[in-house]
Point group: C2
Amino acid sequence: MALEHAILVSLAEKSASGYDLARRFDASIGHFWKASHQQIYKVLGRMESDKWVEAHLVEQSGRPDKKVYAITGEGRDELMRWSSTPTPIEAYRSEFAVKLRGLNFGDRDAVLSDVRTRRAAHVTQLAYYEASAAKHYPDPSTVADDELGAYLVLRGGFIQEQSGIAWCDEILQAFGAAER
Amino acid sequence: MALEHAILVSLAEKSASGYDLARRFDASIGHFWKASHQQIYKVLGRMESDKWVEAHLVEQSGRPDKKVYAITGEGRDELMRWSSTPTPIEAYRSEFAVKLRGLNFGDRDAVLSDVRTRRAAHVTQLAYYEASAAKHYPDPSTVADDELGAYLVLRGGFIQEQSGIAWCDEILQAFGAAER
DNA sequence: AATGCCATGTAACCAGTTACATGATTGC
DNA sequence: GCAATCATGTAACTGGTTACATGGCATT
């Protein structure tokens, strides 16, 4: 399971409360690993028992107190251990592909409008990655060494969205050709 | 959930036993939706209660008897209903991306060899899709209408693998550049 | 007065994985 | 004799989702 490790990576970058983590999992890290706050709290509890993280209470005025979690030495060890084990190749799982495959038994127009929606979502996400890259890595040829990982992940997202758009376009073209 | 619908699509193409379905989910359909035989039997049971499929026992000699499932009218209705509802856009979830992101706290060489492994897997899969396309759709400009869905799914897999390779190559290049 | 942010959780449920179980036939 | 294929399941567990719960402060 990788949520533990995603949290460890996030905490290794900067200590945070469960709430903070939940917001990070809505944004940057969330682009390739989603997690709800409920699940984050649950996993943080387990990680604390495992001594991978430790919490200290931060009292605040005007807003609720919070528990700020920091990665421990053991947490860093675990991160290193995990990093050096091969990552299992995750299976694709696309409900949309199932729908396409069942085109003969389904509603062609609905699938068509589905493709358009998906294409638009890919375009939006691509623009986001593009803006993000322009902001953080204006010169891709000289990315700082400690930013390389984050940069490459961004590139991965970018490529993913590009190919998503390319697929949608092929589908739209095939549908268009069939209707004429 | 889409396993029900993946099974419905598969049974709409051709009636099958749970065992047959499990094999289909190892091959063609399995490229975008995996399922174990245990889970298939479980879901088939539920689908039978829901009247989406019906089973009849086929006695065999020399091998165990089997229950062959066929899609019902209600099953086809459900397939049509599902087809015409928008497909939720599934979140990416990549353990490998998490690992890349945590490169600063991990083992660079291990990640490097991981990339190489993944690239090789993408190449193998791409070759499979290529061979499959050459065999079933020798002339892509004239794909029969009832094969369009399956063809486009294959194209999606192809594009996916291609972009996976492109990402791996970018990572390898970045790593190489950093080491020189 | 209502909405949204900050902050942390519990409980019930669901989909999917892993381990275990059985038993006959066919091919090496 | 051993492994693979055919064929169908049960049981325990895990990861994740959805619904529910609480409560103060700041903004509109």
